[in-house]
């Protein structure tokens, strides 16, 4: 089957068009927008919470978006094992919604940062990273609040359950302090839920799905999902 992707549009989402275009045009998936005020995910197989500044992020990133009507359905979908990816602001919303543990706080530099970084796939996820464990990808980040924080017990739990999927690293895959762009605990760039069906990540894979822009390294996540859904 060709999976159907639903991209949620919150007021202030601004990577919604990018995710839609990459999924539909660059990857050829059936893709639809989902308006945050509706109460339906319209038979989506995968839900994307895109990047941006939902509700301006004036209170705390993601703190208001979690109360949007559609988030009830997203929560239900995730609890039933549905595949959900939160990218950047979407990751922040997932943490605020308690669909993922931890929190994203202000970057250590206290400044917004936009640049290409390297991330290493540090775990095997049959959903999101099939066949690419250990590989290093160049993916951009663009955020002011991407500094992942979790207290020690939570961190241990993440490790025990192999929930840490992406870590910031250098070009050669070394996870170093210098390659940590925002001060995240243990260079964490992306984590999964315990069941492995919800992914939150600060880097933007949807921005690197086009050879015209010189980088297609974000495609692996979406192709992995397609492969997974085909084989269940």
């Amino acid at each position: 089957m060709n999976p159907k992707f639903g991209v949620v549009v919150f007021p202030g989402s601004n990577c919604d068009h990018d995710a839609y275009y990459s999924l539909k045009k660059n990857l050829g998936f059936d893709t639809q927008f989902l308006w945050h005020k509706n109460h339906s995910i319209n038979n989506s197989d995968v839900i994307i919470l895109p990047g941006g500044f939902s509700y301006g992020d004036y209170l705390r990133s993601g703190a208001i978006a979690k109360l949007s009507p559609l988030m009830n359905e997203v929560r239900e979908f995730a609890e039933k094992g549905g595949i959900v990816i939160g990218i950047c602001n979407g990751f922040q919303i997932l943490c605020e919604s308690n669909l993922l543990p931890g929190a994203l706080i202000k970057n250590k530099s206290l400044k917004f940062v936009c640049k290409d970084v390297y991330v290493k796939v540090t775990n095997e996820s049959k959903v999101f990273s099939s066949g690419v464990k250990g590989e290093v990808f160049k993916i951009p980040i663009a955020h002011g609040e991407g500094n992942y924080f979790i207290e020690e017990n939570g961190l241990n739990e993440l490790k025990q359950n192999s929930q840490i999927l992406f870590q910031y690293c250098d070009k050669n895959g070394n996870i170093t302090e210098a390659s940590n762009p925002n001060g995240s605990v243990e260079n964490i760039a992306g984590i999964m839920s315990k069941k492995g069906n919800v992914l939150g990540m600060m880097p933007h894979p949807e921005r690197v799905c086009s050879d015209i822009l010189g980088n297609s390294s974000g495609k692996f996540i979406f192709n992995s999902i397609k492969f997974y859904l085909k084989n269940i």
Binding site: P11, D18, F53, F112
Partner: protein, 741 residues
Amino acid sequence: MIKEPEVSLDLALQHGLSEEEFAKIINILGRTPNFTELGIFSVMWSEHCSYKNSIKVLKTLPRTGSRLLVGAGEENAGLVDIGDGLAVAFKIESHNHPSAVEPYQGAATGVGGILRDIFTMGARPIAALNSLRFGTLSDNRTKYLFEGVVAGIGDYGNCFGVPTVGGEVYFDDCYKGNPLVNAMAVGLVKHNETASAIATGAGNPVLIVGSSTGRDGIHGATFASEEISEKSEAKRPSVQVGDPFTEKLLLEATLEVIKAGYLIGIQDMGAAGISCSTTEMSAKGESGMSINLDKVPVREQGMTAYEILLSESQERMLCVVKKGFEDKVKAIFDKWDLNCEIIGEVTNDKNLKIYYQGELKADITPFDCVLGGGAPVYERETKVPGYFSVTRNFDFDSLKVQENIRDTFLKVFSSHNIVSKKWVYEQYDSMVRTNTVTGPGCDSAVVYIKDTNKALALKTDCNSRYVYLNPLKGGMIAVAESARNIVCSGGLPLAVTNCLNFGNPYKPEIYYQFSEAVRGMGEACIALDTPVTGGNVSFYNESPDSAVYPTPVIGMLGLIEDLSHITTSFFKENGDLIYVIGEDKEEIGGSEFLKVIHGLVKGDSPDINMETEKKLQSFLLNSIKKKLIKSAHDISEGGVITAIAECCIINRENQIGANVVIPASNREDFSLFSETQSRVVVSIDPKDQKDFEEFALLNGVKITKAGVTGGEILIVNGKYQFTLDELDKIYFETISKIMEN
């Protein structure tokens, strides 16, 4: 209710009007204006809104061309056809005065204002650029302004979701008290989905949409029309507060309404708020309006008609919609949780009548208020600046020959005007919307047009030192260099928007700078066939110390007709051949070298010959199209040696050394740092050498083989060696080191 002040000449003078202008208003109305009307006239006739001291000169610029879909000044922004049924709306605007007293909000609302100018045309903003100038970074207040402006631009654009893809930042003492903050936005629209800033059709409802109206920004336009002084700090309340989230909602709702076809006209409420949008839209449509201010959503109690009319609260628009479709329009704004209130209707009596709390508060003819209508037009006195007699008589032979070229270069290369602005642009989201092919840091930004084989090349540029030394040539160079940068990226220069930052126009020497610079720009635009589509004039850029250098910033739009033409500045592979296109004349006047090494801003600006420039650009673009060019980089501040060093290190993922020889005709230190115009450094594949040289000969363009790429060091003239590591450190870390300490 507070009693309104009695209108008198004194009060008019306090509003920034002259005695002559006050008499003119009385003459137009046939009576003394009331307080509210005085407020409207004072903002509409401010320099900022009326262009009263500049319009005559601006009209000498070339403003037509086959690709222009609207004329300069006719709409909120210029509109240029790029084929495939698509058009590009683009414009640059200043927010200097607000940024001087409140850098964060001043810069942020500058971005907000220019974005609204673009999407009121029906165009979705796809790129933002800027041009910034500050004092030197040794000064703490300058650092505060620099940091605040960059954060303000970043936060607004990042939240709104437009990529900031390019810009320029210069530091010079002349900008210490009066920084320049110019913001440019570029949008894309289908030909049949454009909108106009017009009010027509008696009975059509007039709507205010977006944010509520508060007391912020009252008399912002008037504040922008006077010099910065110690008292300016008190004008901080004239600076508006930006809300990029509401702007984003306004964008989506506005585009939806335009697409649905319910709209007659729409205008952004920037300077002078409701006063400006109601008068300008009515005047353009040769209509009148009847407005009831009681219907305007306000965020504070007890506002007067005067305050509501003059408020510059951000993220608001005035719309005229087709009668009968009000509810459909309201439903769209409702969906995006935005205010949308009917505040009046279009009338056919050509009068603007404004009611509040049951009283007629203003009754004026819109045409009398606006540029091109009753607004005053002046031509100011000019005088050749006295400082020319000093700067022009400078004897360059008196400069001590630099013995240690290596040290000299490292000093010039460390100049804050040359080093990378990475610290700045990493705070901007340069990639959102997934069109950015070449982001900040190259000759021009390249933005892909989805579902086509085309891209836009975009650039902002001005070397104000040149303009100071020679306004005519400096104006020409600003245009020529922007176009050259576009060509270096593989684009064809199409059109120009400009932001003219000058001092007080009532000073004859300043007005000379202004009129000569515009003349130079005009000549260059005609030569390059890049008409001016609009822009903005900012006068009164003076602080108690001095006026800023005359700074006519050019925003250039170029079209890359085939994605395979996209070219970047940096060297690609070892063993490629390096050529310099163009001919050096060892010109040091106004150069970065002269300023950094000798502490002088003297001489004349470099010469510029538009025929030579045109020839160079057409040769380079055709060479790119023939696939002969692997990299192309304009030679500008810091001369040929700086340009080559940048080609070595700009791409941090693949830095490549070079071994070059730069022949000197007179002095080595001059030849390496000369800023002679119409020159470009290119690298080519050795297999294309014969073709390239023959093509240059055929085109009558002078090229000089400078050397070869490769290795981990840059070697100049066989004697001066620089490791890529040392160049990288200087180039990419100088500014962050200063700002992070």
